[in-house]
Symmetry: D3
Subunit: 234 residues, 6 copies
């Protein structure tokens, strides 16, 4: 996995995640203020939207804006990304700012939602740096941990981490795990479409997932060790 | 939990599930034929839609048909119900028939999605009985197991099964588990909104969930022991 | 016709109407305040929405939320229910409260719109009782009369009250009448799809309808003679 | 009321109805074939759509195409026009042709729906003449009678025919009547928004309405006595 | 081209443009105030919407309100009309008033967008007269010039002004020009669908267009020489 | 301007255009067959869709899929791209294949539509190479010329080519020109929002534009001189 910070010029955080054949552009845009129902609470807000370019998939997919409605899968992943990243940010420390995370898949080859979460954390960290440099945080340390995600599948009876699409679509069980750099869980979603699985298999998948997430958190930390990729007030 | 079969006259299967303050009407409607993309495959199809009456919730909620779009949560639960029930049916044995599962929440007090899955299985079993009696199955035994679901939460540090809404909304972690009468898993969805959880907590939640599902499967079997609640050809 | 009050726990009024093979769940939900265009007028507001569960009809019907638009028939009946019930309530006496009437058809076998109006009156009466007990009415008696409705058809040349669906669909003329317990009219809708009808036939239908409405008003009064089906402050 | 035939060049029938301050453009467009669900039945189809230009009303109204949905009132009137005109046409004699009636209100001053029905009959008669001249009818006389409509209101206790908008909005009761040149009824819609009315009042309104419709049918016959306003094959 | 002022009673300006077989109804409706994002700026606003009646075209077209979305061509023309007319009005002189231009095509035979612009100018001039007479302008002369438009095409290699539909659809190049009575340009849109064109051809089209626009401006001035077609305060 | 071919793995043509601060991803996806209305004609089809990522603009813009409708500007540009590229392809030579051009703006700094057209030509050329290599063209040379586009503005009275956003938004006149490598025109769109312009200014803008397009065509040719960036059958 490579994480390229500063891919776009305008958002406070912008990261291109490349992972096998999967490329996701994660942007964190900052707006002063919060949605109306939250105004005056002193709390910030974080929201996320996931989408795929029509040209990202093997066979071109229809554009959701043209169809006039967002599909069920898109909704579901957007909500998952939002929940996952809200787990690592103290919305009180954020102050009345809104961070919008946009995860747009430029190329899809399996694991787009977990790549999106892993990249979104880095974009979020950059947006927090930007807010801090502009003196707009209520408290200078709103982030309490790192967040990363992997998918684990069982193919031909063997547990496998981060399958590319061709194998993923053959998986008997598919589990997405979101966790922190401390090894605690944020979200576990295990699904056996057209098959059931034992608790022992679930355990093996979780072992594998937590090992993978540990490695991703190291990569995030390494990427974030470089300076902020834009201009900041001094 | 009470399961009242034959609540509606028209669908092949219709079950009213009552569980604490939650009431869900689960209907299984049968149509000859399958969607166009599946025609000629010899395989059947099973689809599910979940919805809530505006008057089901403590504060009246807006009607999705009037808003003109189905919300993210509704989409997500509809997809979960469909996936869960497809895990127990052999679509080849079903033949080219479509079963639509409609789970409409008449009253909501926590656990509506898991009550919906548990009731939908019973409605599905009745629809299969109806198809068999009308000689429309490709194979007489399309169902391979029972399916039931529970939600488990952690409140004030203690693992609790099937929380009512007032406690559910305070839960630090919320896990939905769908499993079979044989103890194998179909779906595990554990979420810590605004909090993280340890693997030990996940294990305790799964222990509790699987015990609950075993009891629900016994209730389903008992309810299905009575004869089909409508007229069948002899 | 049976009228079961208190079918749902959350709305201030909730009535299950059963009438032949037709079952309609009528809920009256109370919200403090009125729509923006009415704020500060001192007047309350009453609105109504009618819908059918997909599983309510003989052949499953598509869900309007999934289609993304409310059909013409649904709109028309929602407007009819709203107009009919506004005729019996003094919106000034109601004060700046909004009552939303939701009429959801659980099972359809003819006459769903007239059953909905008849049940909605009882739900409305319960909501008014609830508002009065909570001291939220501008005047303690906002209801000026009872409202009930019947449909009358002409089948094979004979006038018939409240036809079940199988006969209704054969009717040459179909008239819906909404009236009060005093015999005055609120709404008359007579339609001869594919046929015309004489004024003499209209007169015979009105005679029959007003007789039926008198009997329904007696049933409403009887149902409302029992105490309010929930807890009220004393 | 004036009826100007041939206002538009393209549709087979096109009539501008002017009536007080109300102007409605009624067009009857012919298409070979019928909707898919009717193909092969040998029966024709007739459908209607009603709409208002934004600039037709005293205060500009929003455009429904821009809002992205057709309002309840529009739906309701479109359905009324369709039902009313289907009452006078033998769809078997029409053969497998579709007639679309478009009633677009250019200027509104009360009674737009009844003016639309009265004008739509004349446009329909012209479309039938066009179909006959082109040899496309299954039987040369599909029209069995004339159809016209009026609205009757009660203002300050007095029954009044075809009120202009300023008085119509003050009416205590408002009744729309659609009837034939033979005095038989097609549709009666009496509404007392915010008031109830006696059967005696209904009778007085019907007397007045049927007198008005007789006069309108004479005007229609007179307008149709002139030759078809376009070119026909000889 | 004929320009009939005062075709509708309600809008401040209403002009029926007839041009060959094309008829467009242009209305200019005035509202006090401006959209929220502009409030308090002291500037007025002008917006435009273009639409076609279903019955306007040779073959009936579907109604955009029923389809639930405005098509690309409609959007594009609405934006063009708005831009064109904003070029001749000083929004500061207009004061905080909004003028909505509705251009509804009653009959289409080529050149509807250019006829709409030419007619909309006259409706706008009448709306300005109305505003001035009611003392609602910030400055009495908000209009700085006249605006008119023509389309020019190349058919069989020859430049032709304002083609009727039958020839327009054969044109190799199609150019719409919007200009002022002083010969300056507002908008030039030249398109060679399925063909390219030389700069020399573009020059010939512009020559022809500017000549046509000069004649249209003379017709506008002549039409506006007659008094305002409604009542004004004195 | 840099043109990076093969940016995405799945579409037959994929080009990243970078131009000042503007980045547009242009993909050309090939599907066998044509839309239903064209089937059996022997002709191919080419369609285009333009969109902007929410994070592409200085201030985050709302996602059109979430708003549920495509805006007027988006529609307009999509249609422009489609028309422009159809001018250089012989749809008969293409055979019954459909090419979908997706132009997604990753970063916006003025001139996104002209950059999109210039890049789309290169993606289209790659898709044609792919089709040829797979033996799916009716004729091996469907492309008749190159297509490129520039925008020209007038700022402070001076004609300027391809303005960045900050200056573009100050431009008094804005002209987009699409032309071929032979200097013939495909589309000219000159607009003076809030200002008018003389024919002399138009001429100066066209001179400048055609010079710029000549340079862009040279860049396209250079980029296309390298081999196809994916695998082709030999």
């Amino acid at each position: 996995m490579t994480l390229t910070r500063g891919f776009q010029a305008h958002p406070a955080g912008s990261v291109l995640v490349e992972f096998g054949g999967t490329k996701v552009l994660c942007a964190a845009s900052v707006t002063a203020g919060v949605p109306r129902w939250r105004t005056g609470s002193g709390l910030g807000w974080l929201t996320a939207e996931y989408a795929m370019l029509p040209s990202a998939t093997h066979t071109r997919s229809d554009r959701e804006s043209v169809k006039g409605r967002v599909g069920g899968r898109t909704h579901e992943i957007s909500r998952l990304i939002g929940r996952s990243l809200r787990a690592c940010i103290d919305l009180k420390a954020l102050g009345e700012n809104t961070i919008a995370l946009d995860c747009d898949v430029l190329q899809a080859d399996g694991g787009t939602r977990t790549a999106a979460i892993t990249g979104a954390y880095v974009a979020l960290a950059d947006a927090v740096t930007w807010l801090r440099a502009h003196g707009r945080l209520a408290d200078p340390q709103p982030l309490s941990c790192q967040v990363a995600a992997v998918s684990v599948g069982v193919v031909d009876g063997r547990v496998r981490l981060d399958l590319p699409y061709a194998e993923d679509s053959r998986a008997e069980v598919d589990t997405n795990v979101v966790a922190t750099d401390r090894g605690t869980l944020i979200e576990v979603q295990g699904t056996g479409e057209g098959a059931t699985f034992s608790r022992r298999t679930l355990d093996a998948m979780l072992d594998s997932a937590l090992g993978g997430i540990e490695r991703l958190c190291a990569l995030q930390a390494e990427a974030l060790a470089a300076p902020y990729p834009g201009e900041l007030p001094t």
